[in-house]
């Protein structure tokens, strides 16, 4: 029984069957990659997991509880955090303020009217946010306006914000899209380090095969809205079906 169990999920947009019969099980404390050509339904599936979309059929269970019909913030509070393709951070706020928000969300829940409490004196939150910034190696940027940082730093901050919530499952949607090689390698190292230091399950959607094969312990290949194969990376590499559906395409292009 995995931490995330997706059963028979289907989703239709008008005439397009984006997902059909998706079955997926992600085991606890693994790094599981979802790959597939453009339009394979990877992002749709991800959106079904976090509450942005509701599948037409099937079930999605996280840790024995259904996530269907719940809002994104409820699902997040259950222990699923999401990193976006383009970093979603609070651009108007400083790095430290950015980091304090997930710490508050973890402690105080979906809403708390603590309007007369002084944030600057909340040692618990401040210490936790600072520790997280140290872990992310960005403590010296704490007073920086977060919108003015590089894309790599924004990504690092966003991952840090997700980790500050101590999620059990971290979803990453193409975390290295649009990044330079150096930034990509930094992100890979960061994710490896996170995996080594924490009890956390990571599901990652990625186009960059270098990233996938550096990180993933299991890989599911999605094509035309349905899983094609699921196996360990070594087997996926040589799998004829995958070559045909996906790698063949990129190999030919290369």
């Amino acid at each position: 029984m995995g931490i995330l169990e997706v059963k028979n999920v289907g989703k239709r947009f008008g005439g397009l069957q984006a997902l059909s019969n998706v079955n997926l099980s992600i085991a606890e404390n693994t790094v599981h990659a979802l790959i597939g050509p453009n339009g394979a339904g990877k992002s749709t599936l991800l959106n079904c997991l976090v509450g942005k979309l509701i599948p037409d059929t099937g079930s999605v269970m996280f840790d024995g509880q259904s996530v269907l019909g719940r809002t994104p913030y409820e699902i997040n509070q259950m222990g699923i955090s999401r990193v976006f393709q383009t970093p979603e951070i609070f651009g108007d706020l400083t790095v430290m303020e950015n980091m304090m928000i997930p710490c508050l969300a973890k402690r105080d829940g979906v809403f708390k009217l603590n309007a007369l409490r002084t944030l600057g004196r909340d040692a618990e939150i401040r210490d936790k946010a600072e520790q997280m910034l140290i872990d992310m190696n960005m403590i010296e940027k704490r007073e920086m306006h977060s919108a003015s940082m590089s894309r790599g730093d924004k990504r690092r901050l966003e991952i840090g914000m997700c980790l500050a919530q101590e999620p059990r499952l971290l979803l990453l949607d193409e975390p290295t899209a649009g990044m330079a090689r150096a930034d990509t390698n930094n992100t890979i190292d960061l994710l490896k380090q996170i995996k080594a230091e924490r009890d956390i399950t990571i599901a990652i959607i990625e186009h960059d095969m270098h990233v996938v094969f550096s990180l993933a312990e299991r890989i599911t290949v999605l094509a035309q809205g349905t899983p094609l194969v699921e196996d360990v990376p070594e087997k996926i590499k040589g799998h004829p079906k995958v070559r045909e559906a996906y790698l063949g395409e990129s190999a030919a292009a290369a």
């Binding site: 955090s81 999401r82 976006f84 979603e88 609070f90 651009g91 706020l93 928000i101 508050l104 002084t118």
Partner: protein
């Protein structure tokens, strides 16, 4: 101190000193001098500075922090005024119950309107609040005449059944509003040389409440709640995916700012016990928006400055008439004098609203951060020049 950081405490101290000394500061010209018309140190106007300061400080909690632009806040001010007058009519001429009721009723009204309007964001939200305010205006103006006395406005009469008090004074007049016997309209005048300084009870009550309102606003700005409101403005998607529900945060901000507006409305009625529908009109809602952005939305002190600025110039501009203009420009040759006056008279007297509209456009276009940002820019310019000067001075020493 008071749970504030050093900077914030100093800011609060400055505002407190300004409130306390306003009767002197706003009265720089001797009473019989030609410049006395620029004095603002009389009770009625000073009360307005404080009351609209409270209104704008509250509006800023919603607009400045969350970015939700409400075009209907005058409705809450009006509701506050009506509630206060009813309290005077039915219960007592003491302002405390009236003010409490106006805050509570405005808060409940804001809860209702906010609950519906906040289902949408952005432009939709602005339009919905505008529509609600206009509906409230129509309700007050005609539909709910038994409650609001329609066009005439709600006033005290000699027949009011005041439970804790008398319907008429011994002299047969309408009793006046008071704070445990201290009459709001009572003014002490201190004459020093040519100057006449006026100290009014009502003004100091308004001042004390402005300080309280300002203090609470600082606390909100520095609280985790305040951080969440700024996060709402910055990125709602991330907030949702960080396990936070944006709705109750924005609704709470909406209700709090509605209660501030109610307090302002209750105070208006406490100073002068009448309430009319025109207080709820969209122009009134627009005015508080202008005060906030003129001062600097999202800054602490901005709305107070903006409110003071607008109310001061409204007062001065409205007083200027043709005679005053002629006396100003009489040194010019006649033809030029007439041309100048022809231009200027558009903007003064009853033309104040035209000035207000132009000010609106100019501020939004050229100074979106308001006076506070403008001041900061100028300050930075000087500091840079200072730093440059120091740098040149220190070079030879090296």
């Amino acid at each position: 101190m008071l749970g504030l950081g050093k900077k914030d405490f100093i800011l609060l101290g400055i505002v407190a000193a300004l409130v306390l000394l306003a009767p002197f500061i706003l009265n720089p010209f001797p009473a019989d001098s030609a410049l006395a018309q620029f004095n603002a140190g009389y009770p009625d106007l000073m009360q307005r500075f404080m009351i609209f300061g409270i209104f704008a400080v509250g509006f800023n909690i919603l607009f400045g922090l969350t970015g939700y632009l409400s075009f209907g806040h005058a409705a809450f001010l009006g509701v506050g005024s009506y509630s206060a007058v009813w309290m005077f009519k039915l219960l007592s001429m003491n302002v405390i119950p009236a003010i409490i009721l106006s805050v509570v009723v405005a808060g409940l009204f804001a809860l209702l309107i906010g609950f519906i309007s906040l289902r949408r964001s952005g432009i939709y939200f602005s339009i919905l609040t505008l529509a609600f305010a206009q509906m409230s205006f129509n309700l007050a103006y005609s539909v709910l005449t038994p409650l609001t006395n329609g066009e005439t406005g709600l006033q005290l009469t000699l027949e009011d059944p005041r439970i804790l008090g008398v319907s008429q004074t011994a002299a047969g007049g309408i009793p006046v509003t008071n704070l445990f016997g201290m009459e709001m309209r009572e003014t002490t005048t201190l004459t020093l040389g040519g100057w006449a300084f006026q100290f009014n009870n009502g003004y100091y009550l308004c001042g004390a409440l402005l300080l309280l309102a300002f203090y609470i606003s600082i606390r909100i700005f520095r609280s985790p709640f305040g951080l969440m409101l700024r996060a709402v403005k910055s990125n709602q998607t991330r907030l949702n995916y960080t396990g936070l529900n944006t709705k109750p945060y924005t609704l709470a901000a909406f209700v709090i700012s509605g209660m501030y507006a109610g307090l302002a409305g209750g105070l208006l009625a406490s100073m002068d016990p009448l309430a009319g529908a025109e207080r709820m009109q969209w122009t009134a809602s627009g005015e508080v928006v202008l005060m906030t952005i003129l001062g600097g939305a999202g800054t602490l002190i901005g709305p107070v400055l903006g409110a003071g600025f607008i109310k001061y110039f409204e007062n001065i501009f409205s007083k200027i008439n043709d005679n005053v203009l002629h006396s100003w420009f009489h040194i010019l040759p006649d033809s030029i004098e007439n041309a100048v006056i022809w231009v200027v008279e558009h903007f003064v007297g009853s033309g104040w609203h035209l000035t207000l509209g132009l000010l609106f456009m100019l501020v939004v276009t050229f100074l979106p951060g308001g006076l506070v940002q403008g001041g900061q820019k100028i300050g930075r310019l000087f500091r840079r020049r200072d730093a440059a000067a120091k740098a040149t001075q220190s070079t030879p020493a090296e």
